[in-house]
Each structure stands twice: as structure tokens, then as C-alpha cells.
């Protein structure tokens, strides 16, 4: 048997911020392509616009703060924030809302707190929540996935809707837009319909809404690749999806006609994107292994609680922001014991 001699140091790749961020961007590609396939050009336009605004505002703020501009911009964290934000908002969001949301994310939620590494909140989610609270009508105007869509917009029509707000002749917002699966499920449940009735509508696929569940699948694939490459650990996504699934299954077993089954929750709304790409933000999440499990599970539980009993149909952004606040405390109480340290603590 032969053992190949490898000289030290053994680390294969420099684990720099920019390489981590680049891998996150690569892992987002399948999900982003699926989003574009199902929801049209608006997704691409949003991603491009958000990236331009994010990089420009980051450059401006770095200049004002007297920090190195190009060196910081090349860590790609602003691009990741922009992409996550663009994938979370509706595809036909008016351009000035995209600018406002991502601008708030970079300027207030990231740079005013001191830039990458100092932001207590996930910037993309802070921008998203700002818009969701301020402009609920625009932020819930989702279009149906392509397989259900009778009016597929061309690139030029999409550009006109986003930048001038004019719809193609003969179309109204009511004809163009459609409630998201989570929204439809919730509205129907509020009307007293049973789940077996609700699911007869063509909106539904095997797990969640048709089209939507496939986007979730591709995010899942990208996320697994990130775990395989050790960019993220399995703790946060595993705990978050596990807690969400467990709670949803318990309630589904208790009353299958008023609580959708567990996989519906996993493959609807922002659960997959949130679990692998948003909750795992290395800056704003908990960092100790045990802390990550608590942090992820709490996000999953909050998502289920807000989706079921709260005021909004989806809850990933709120759950992530709430647990961002708790992350330092979780880290404090879950610090692993250093080898040789005794049980006594000085606090």
C-alpha cells in the first residue's frame, strides 16, 4: 500500500470571503434559472437592477466612509445580497421599489452598521421587510408560474411594466397576477374551505404550488452543493427545515383538513431559499454548532407559527430577522468549552 506524501500546509483552497461569496452565487444559479423559467424575464431584470444599485450604493458609502472601495467591492457580498433580494421579491416589482429596497439593505442595514461582518441583520431581508411592510400591495403582486400563465410577457413588455408601470394593451393587474400558493392556501382556509377542496384547483402540484415546488427543488440542489463544498454547515438548514416539517406534520396529523401537510410548507414560499442561502448568512447567524441548531430550529418554528397564525402569508424574512436579534445571545450560552477549561464560569 502506498501513501502519497503531501507536504504541509494541507489546506486546499484559501477560504476567503470572495471565494465563499462566489460559491454562493454559483449555487444560486440553478434556482435562479428555474425562477426565470417559471416567472419570466422580470426575475433577470430584477437581479440585474438590484446588483447595479447594490454595487453603486456600496461604492458610494465606502467612499463616504473613507474605506477602500475596489478591495471591498471585490468580496462580492453586495452582489450576493442583491441576488437574494431580487429572488425574494415579485418578478414585476416596479423599478423604484427594487432601488429603494436594495438601497436600504446596503446603506442602512449593512454600511451604517459598519459594513460586512458588523451588520446584525441580514441586509437582503431587512430591505425585503421594509418593502413588505410599506408596500404590501406591490409586494404581493406575484404572477403565476408559466405553466398556469395565459399571458406570458415578452422581454420588452416586462421591461415596460417594470420601468413605466404600463401593462400591455388589454391586460389588467387582476388578469396578470395570481396569489402565491401560500397566500391562496391561507385565503381559502380563512374562507372555511377544507384542504381536500382547495387542492382540487390546478394551482397545486405534488408538494406545493405548481412551478413553485420546482424552484424549491433547484434551491435545494444548490444548497446541498454548498454543504458538500463546506461553504455552509448542515446545522442551520437541517434544523430549520426539520423544525418546520416536524411542526407542520404534527398539526397535519391532528387536523388534516385545516393544516396543509408538511412538505407543502417546505416547498412553498421562501423556505428553501431561506434555509440554505439566507438563514446561513455567516455574519448575522449564530456561529457555534449547538447555537446553529437552536437558531435554525427557531427560524423553522417561527416560520410555521407566522404562516399559520400570523398576519402575513410567508414568514421567512420575519423569522430570520427575529432570530438575527437572538443570535448573539444564543452564541453566548452555547459557547463550546475550551479543552481543559473547568465547569465554573465567571458570569
Amino acid at each position: 500500500m502506498e501513501f502519497p506524501a503531501v507536504s504541509s500546509p494541507h489546506s486546499a483552497l484559501p477560504n476567503r470571503v470572495s471565494s465563499v461569496m462566489l460559491r454562493v452565487i454559483l449555487a444560486l444559479i440553478p434556482g435562479a434559472l428555474a425562477m426565470t423559467w417559471y416567472f419570466g424575464w422580470g426575475v433577470v431584470i430584477n437581479m440585474a437592477l438590484a446588483t447595479v444599485v447594490a454595487v453603486a450604493s456600496e461604492a458610494l458609502l465606502l467612499r463616504l466612509r473613507g474605506r477602500p472601495v475596489t478591495a471591498t467591492l471585490s468580496d462580492l457580498s453586495a452582489v450576493v445580497t442583491a441576488l437574494l433580494f431580487a429572488l425574494a421579491v415579485p418578478p414585476l416589482l416596479p423599478w423604484w421599489l427594487t432601488v429603494l429596497g436594495i438601497g436600504f439593505a446596503i446603506v442602512v442595514a449593512k454600511q451604517l452598521y459598519g459594513g460586512l461582518g458588523y451588520n446584525p441583520f441580514n441586509p437582503a431581508m431587512a430591505g425585503y421587510v421594509l418593502l413588505l411592510i410599506s408596500y404590501p400591495v406591490e409586494m404581493t403582486a406575484w404572477i403565476p408560474p408559466i405553466i398556469l400563465n395565459e399571458h406570458v410577457l415578452t422581454l420588452s413588455e416586462t421591461l415596460r411594466v417594470i420601468f413605466t408601470g404600463t401593462l400591455p394593451a388589454g391586460l389588467t393587474w387582476d388578469a396578470l397576477s395570481m396569489a402565491t400558493p401560500l397566500d391562496a392556501m391561507r385565503t381559502n382556509l380563512d374562507l372555511g374551505h377544507l384542504i381536500s377542496e382547495i387542492r382540487e384547483s390546478p394551482l397545486w402540484g405534488d408538494f406545493g404550488g405548481r412551478g413553485w415546488e420546482w424552484v424549491g427543488n433547484w434551491y435545494f440542489l444548490g444548497g446541498i452543493w454548498l454543504i458538500y463544498k463546506r461553504v455552509i454547515s448542515w446545522h442551520i438548514p437541517g434544523a430549520m427545515l426539520g423544525a418546520l416539517l416536524l411542526l407542520a406534520m404534527i398539526f397535519h396529523l391532528l387536523d388534516p383538513e385545516t393544516h396543509p401537510f408538511g412538505l407543502f410548507h417546505l416547498f412553498s414560499g421562501g423556505a428553501m431559499l431561506g434555509a440554505f442561502f439566507i438563514a446561513t448568512d455567516p455574519v448575522s447567524a449564530a456561529t457555534t454548532p449547538r447555537g446553529k441548531l437552536i437558531y435554525g430550529a427557531s427560524i423553522g418554528a417561527l416560520v410555521f407559527i407566522i404562516r399559520t397564525w400570523g398576519g402575513y402569508p410567508d414568514a421567512v424574512a420575519f423569522a430570520v430577522l427575529l432570530m438575527n436579534m437572538a443570535a448573539p445571545t444564543i452564541d453566548y450560552y452555547t459557547q463550546p468549552r475550551v479543552f481543559g477549561e473547568t465547569e465554573t464560569r465567571n458570569d
Partner: protein, 233 residues
């Protein structure tokens, strides 16, 4: 401390020791009612009225009250003036009174007022306490007005809406509007907007202070440099 001049008292109250921007006192009413400029102005003036009256009274009785019981006595004095203010607002500014609601009685708990009673009025003459109360009150009112104005403009696209509640029917015309199709940033009127707005105002004050300090430093240094520069020229 007791020997500070009136000019210093006024400057402290309005700017250097502004209760909202520097001491960060009285934040509860400050954050809660400043969703319009008129609400802010109304609560600010009510607070100023109470502050002037309580400061003067506390200063008048400062030698009669034993230190052991001073805080309950101060609270009683403040509560009496708040009750009087509340009843007067109910009588003469009923619309505004309804909007401000619980925050008028809550002026009692505004720590800026008991803070001034304890830190200033109980150690100074009545006239100085009156000036202190007035300048602190105006400084506080200014922040309420500016924060209310910013939140109102960003959030609903108007300025001085409901001015008639405070200045009568004639003032209805001073309401400004950005435009009919202005889509306000709703979060500015909601509680988070108050925190964001106050944070930005505090940052602005710190920037202004920094700039003036630099200017002043430059002015004191420059006379020393001038002859040197002249010889080189």
C-alpha cells in the same frame, strides 16, 4: 454648575444637552406621537408648558422639601400640572387631545421633566429654572416637530396635516401635499420609522457638532500660521 450664565442654560437646553438628541430622555412619547408634525408640535408644547411650570415650582419649594421625600413631591407637582394641561387641552384643543390620547397623561412619566426637576430646578433659583425649563422644552419640541415633519412627508406625503386641530379653521390652508399619486413609505409612520428617523437626526446632530468643532479648531490655529505663510509668500 450653579454659576452657569443664562446664555449657557439656553444653549444647553436647545442644543448641547437636548433632551431628545443627547440625553435620549422622553423617548416613549417622542417615538409614539411623531407620525405627523402637528402631533409632535402639540405634544411638545404641552410638555414645555408642564416643564416650565414644574421647574419653577420645584425651584420655589426647593428649600422647604426634605431630601428624603423630594422625588414623590416632584412627581406630585408634575402630576398636578399635567392634569391641568390635560383638562385645558380637552377643553380648547379637543381634536388634538383625542389624537394624542394617552400620551398627554403620560407626560407625567416623561423622564426629561423629573430629570430637570432633580438635576437643575432643585439646585437653582426660580428664574434660572424657568429659563432652563423653557429652553429644554423648546429643544424637545423642536425635535418632535422636525421628526414628525420628516415622518409625515416620507410616510404620507403631506406636511402640517390636521393643522386646523391646533390653530383653528383658518390654518387648514397651511397643509402642504407632495402630490396626489405619492406612494408614501408606510414604515416611516409606523414605529420602526420613528427609531430610524431619530437615529438619523442624532447622527445629523453629531455631524454638525463635528463640523463646527473642526471649523473652530481651524480658526484658532490659522492666526498662528498666517505670519508664517506670509513670510513664505
Amino acid at each position: 454648575m450653579t454659576e452657569t450664565g443664562y446664555r449657557q442654560i439656553i444653549r444647553d437646553g436647545l442644543w448641547n444637552n437636548n433632551q431628545a438628541l443627547v440625553a435620549l430622555l422622553g423617548l416613549c412619547p417622542l417615538l409614539a406621537v411623531t407620525n405627523t408634525a402637528i402631533n409632535g408640535l402639540g405634544l411638545g408644547l404641552a410638555t414645555t408648558l408642564v416643564l416650565v411650570a414644574s421647574n419653577t415650582t420645584v425651584s420655589l419649594i426647593r428649600n422647604l422639601v426634605r431630601p428624603e421625600v423630594r422625588l414623590p413631591v416632584f412627581v406630585l407637582v408634575i402630576a398636578s400640572f399635567v392634569t391641568a394641561t390635560e383638562l385645558s387641552m380637552n377643553a380648547w384643543f379637543h381634536g388634538l387631545y383625542n389624537i394624542l390620547g394617552i400620551f398627554i397623561p403620560l407626560i407625567v412619566t416623561n423622564c426629561a421633566i423629573i430629570g430637570r426637576a432633580e438635576a437643575f430646578a432643585s439646585k437653582n433659583t426660580p428664574v434660572r429654572s424657568l429659563v432652563d425649563g423653557l429652553s429644554i422644552g423648546i429643544g424637545f419640541t423642536g425635535v418632535l416637530l422636525v421628526l414628525g415633519g420628516i415622518r409625515e412627508m416620507v410616510g404620507s406625503g403631506t406636511l402640517f396635516a390636521h393643522a386646523d386641530l391646533m390653530f383653528g379653521e383658518a390654518a387648514r390652508g397651511i397643509t402642504l401635499s407632495v402630490g396626489e399619486d405619492f406612494k408614501g413609505l408606510l414604515i416611516a409612520i409606523l414605529p420602526p420609522g420613528a427609531f430610524l428617523g431619530l437615529g438619523l437626526l442624532i447622527a445629523l446632530k453629531n455631524v454638525i457638532d463635528e463640523r463646527t468643532r473642526h471649523l473652530r479648531a481651524a480658526r484658532t490655529i490659522s492666526p498662528g500660521h498666517e505670519p508664517e505663510a506670509a513670510t513664505h509668500a
